[in-house]
């Protein structure tokens, strides 16, 4: 009899590559240490990354689901664990549990326009969805990426965004909160891109990820444009510890973000987003 794998035990992974994305944001490419296969993941899912002797944090997978042999995670150094992670180099090892959580419903968006709205580091959990859409581009209508960040220096995946911008089958619009005179792109909050973005709101599916306040205003702008509530999907973040629905740290009302999310249809969250106590 084969025992089921303990969901709380991490698997050893070795860092293949570290990419500094911005001053405080970096991307780790990981591969299993002892020749094991990485489990397949779906766009929107996350892993628990364990820096030995420091602690464990949940981080969304930001790589291509079509190439699961390399696990890619982008994160910002904001706490003890991610600060320690930032100092790690190729060859160093860390523990990985996962993948966990729900996915961006890319299959539900077949034959529809897809608008992806990302704020700040929220682009990272959306990148696998974008890869999935581009891997099967013929299945979708217009695909639009609206990305807002603090300044031009904070733009994630800069080279890749330039490549996406040159593609004729993808509309990419980037805006920053403030910029110096050298910046020739848009300045303003990401919601300001929604009214004029090239998609049919009545036949569009929206994937939104970013700080919660950005998502609240984005939802308002999408609804005003005519996108249906059922067609809006969000990725939520909450304090998380176990990632498998045991501990309740990530609870938002009756939902566990780790188990029921992190990707939710907006109707499930509509009543909860406005509750200040949550």
């Amino acid at each position: 009899m084969i025992a089921a794998a303990d969901p709380m035990v991490p698997n050893l992974h070795r860092i293949q590559k570290v990419t500094q994305e911005t001053s405080d944001t970096f991307t780790l490419a990981l591969a299993p240490s002892c020749g094991r296969k990485c489990p397949a993941f779906r766009p929107g899912q996350f892993n628990m990354l364990y820096v030995f002797g420091v602690g464990e944090v949940p981080i969304s997978i930001s790589g291509d689901p079509a190439t699961p042999e390399t696990l890619v995670h982008t994160t910002r150094a904001v706490g003890a664990v991610t600060a320690a992670m930032k100092k790690m180099r190729p060859g160093d090892q860390l523990g990985v549990r996962g993948p966990y959580g729900t996915e961006w419903p890319v299959a539900e968006a077949h034959d529809r326009d897809v608008v992806i709205v990302a704020g700040g580091i929220g682009l990272a959990p959306l990148r696998p969805a974008l890869y999935s859409l581009l891997n099967h581009r013929e299945r979708y209508g217009r695909v639009v990426l609206l990305y807002g960040t603090r300044s031009p220096e904070d733009i994630l995946y800069r080279t890749e965004i330039q490549k996406w911008r040159s593609q004729f089958d993808l509309d990419v619009h980037v805006t920053v909160d403030r910029a110096t005179g050298k910046w020739r792109g848009n300045v303003g909050v990401v919601t300001s891109l929604i009214p004029k973005a090239p998609f049919d709101p009545y036949h569009a599916t929206a994937f939104v990820c970013g700080p919660e306040i950005m998502m609240r205003y984005t939802i308002l702008a999408l609804l005003k444009r005519g996108v249906e509530k059922d067609s809006i999907h969000l990725s939520m973040e909450r304090n998380m510890k176990c990632a498998v629905g045991f501990c309740g740290h990530c609870q938002i009302g009756p939902l566990f973000v780790c188990r029921d999310g992190p990707v939710f249809g907006y109707p499930r969250l509509e009543k909860l987003l406005d509750k200040r106590e949550l």
Binding site: V78, G122, A179, V189, K196, G210, E237
Partner: protein
């Protein structure tokens, strides 16, 4: 004149304005073109015009000592540049610069204020439209002040994207 009226009638900002009022507004307008990089106006200068952007992109800049010129907003096709013509002392509060080749209709603020004094219904219509523009700009500014992309996802134990 007819061409100017048609241009304005096609612009979303003047949607719902009556034909009579469109004629009045068109009488104060002229076509303008700004090459990329051209300064359109500077803070403190008299706000003699406002602009209906037909094509291109304009940056609203503010000069910050030590930082130089900072862009705080860009405006594009279908948007309106400038509301200072409507509010005393009729001076620009910010700089404006064409980021790329920009075609616009410049509307003479002095001319329009005169027509609004003579036709209060036109004044009320314009005031309603500019109130919306100002409210949108205020909301956008408040969201920028929140620094919302930088304040979230702090600390360990979160889904850190």
């Amino acid at each position: 004149m007819k061409e100017m009226r048609n241009l304005l009638a096609e612009h979303p900002f003047f949607e719902s304005l009556s034909p009579t009022h469109l004629d009045l507004v068109a009488g104060c307008g002229k076509n303008v073109v700004f090459e990329a990089g051209r300064q359109i106006f500077r803070e403190g200068e008299p706000a003699e015009y406002f602009y209906i952007i037909r094509h291109g992109k304009v940056a609203i800049d503010v000069y910050a000592p030590g930082l130089g010129n900072m862009s705080i907003q860009t405006l594009g096709e279908g948007e309106v540049l400038g509301w200072s013509w409507l509010v005393p002392p009729y001076e620009w509060r910010f700089d404006a610069r064409a980021v790329e080749l920009t075609r616009a209709v410049a509307l003479d603020g002095n001319c329009l204020r005169g027509k609004c004094e003579g036709d209060n219904a036109l004044g009320f219509q314009l005031l309603k439209k500019f109130s919306q523009v100002m409210a949108q700009r205020l909301e956008a500014t408040r969201m920028q002040l929140l620094d919302m992309y930088g304040t979230s996802m702090k600390g360990g134990g979160r889904k850190l994207s």
